[in-house]
Symmetry: C2
């Protein structure tokens, strides 16, 4: 049986299959956490992202990789979950149509539940306030409010055991993230950032996520290994 | 097209199929909200609860009733979602095994997402701090922390539009809830509270939820219409 001291180094890592969360996983592993990765099958447009997450978790040798089914497509309201809303080529003013209502809140809540079952006291999420595209649930003040809520939400919290939300990318630029990942030896060819990737994970090269990613590699001075559809 | 003033009276009601949430729905409807009910198929032990929720929503004439699939059984950790953990007949000290890790947080987060898609500014949940059986996520301080987080989590929040979490039962006893419901004409025979109900929604009569419910009807001086298995 695991000792409490071993369990306290367990961490749940939210893993989307994209560049950011792959970097977060490598950072958590480097810091000595026993990593449990969590992905969501939430009606997102393509399966390439989930396949990428499974590959990344496998390469990183995580303790367990779990895919949770979540019927967010029943709610809709985003270009990522509702086929009737098109993914735009160019950024709009304000919060974009690729914003999925309350997505990070739902993902963090599920991570909190799994952390409690595992006895894990750490959750990692790759939110980023610099290139955050105007998503409200990527800001530090939001994460701090989630932390305060989490401290009261669980059995662990009632017993005085904090479950810490780690956001190691929150103040990094895309190129800063890529530099971290390059240092940790991440194979970014395995990751999928594109909103319109095909089922093999190949990128469209035109959406906002593709643009941010390409500019990031350029600014970081790293080769861009992204596989494009065209 | 709906005017903003109409949309502001839309409310998402978390509806489990139990006595408490059925009462909350009737209270919200009485207050003039346009009700959108949300239930979860989350790997709970019996389908009787979901069938009850659908019946209750139908009788109340809600605008829309939605069932969201949520694979919480993949996480386990509770007698309600893990077949390997038995539902006990008697209450234990502290937080019971029927506690589902982070359940209310996950449910409220999904409600927040749907509210944002609907343009609804109200969410109702039937948490109750009196008969709450030691669940951490039924306490007022938890709800207040969720509210503070929700204010920062969404597009509506960023635009200064609060989505209010209503907890009309939080300080009522079970008998107080039943008295409210009786006044509003709820047919409690349609509701299922039992942790071990069969697929027809018939109660075991022995678990903690059955005990609280039976005592509630007795204390309220109302007939108990619960259908038992034996």
């Amino acid at each position: 049986m695991l000792q409490a001291s071993d369990m306290s180094k367990r961490a749940v890592i939210l893993l989307s299959g994209g560049l950011d969360s792959a970097t977060v996983l490598a950072m958590a592993a480097e810091q000595g956490y026993a990593c449990y990765t969590l992905s969501f099958d939430y009606g997102q447009r393509h399966a390439g992202e989930l396949a990428a997450a499974a590959r990344i978790a496998d390469k990183a040798g995580v303790r367990e990789h779990k895919v949770l089914h979540l019927g967010l497509d029943a709610i809709g309201g985003s270009a990522l979950t509702d086929a009737a809303i098109a993914v735009p080529d160019h950024p709009s003013d304000g919060i974009p149509v690729t914003y999925v209502p309350a997505r990070n809140t739902i993902f963090l809540s599920c991570a909190l539940g799994w952390a409690e079952v595992l006895g894990a006291r750490h959750i990692f999420i790759g939110v980023n306030a610099v290139d955050y595209s105007g998503y409200p649930d990527c800001r530090l003040e939001y994460i701090q409010a989630f932390q305060a809520m989490a401290d009261l939400a669980t059995k662990a919290g009632v017993e005085g055991e904090k479950t810490v939300i780690h956001t190691p990318l929150i103040e990094l630029s895309k190129s800063g993230i890529i530099q971290q990942g390059a240092r940790l030896g991440i194979d970014y060819a395995s990751t999928v950032s594109c909103y319109r990737a095909d089922d093999r994970g190949r990128a469209c090269g035109r959406c906002e996520a593709c643009r941010l990613r390409r500019e990031g590699f350029l600014a970081a001075g790293e080769d861009d290994p992204t596989v494009y559809q065209h």
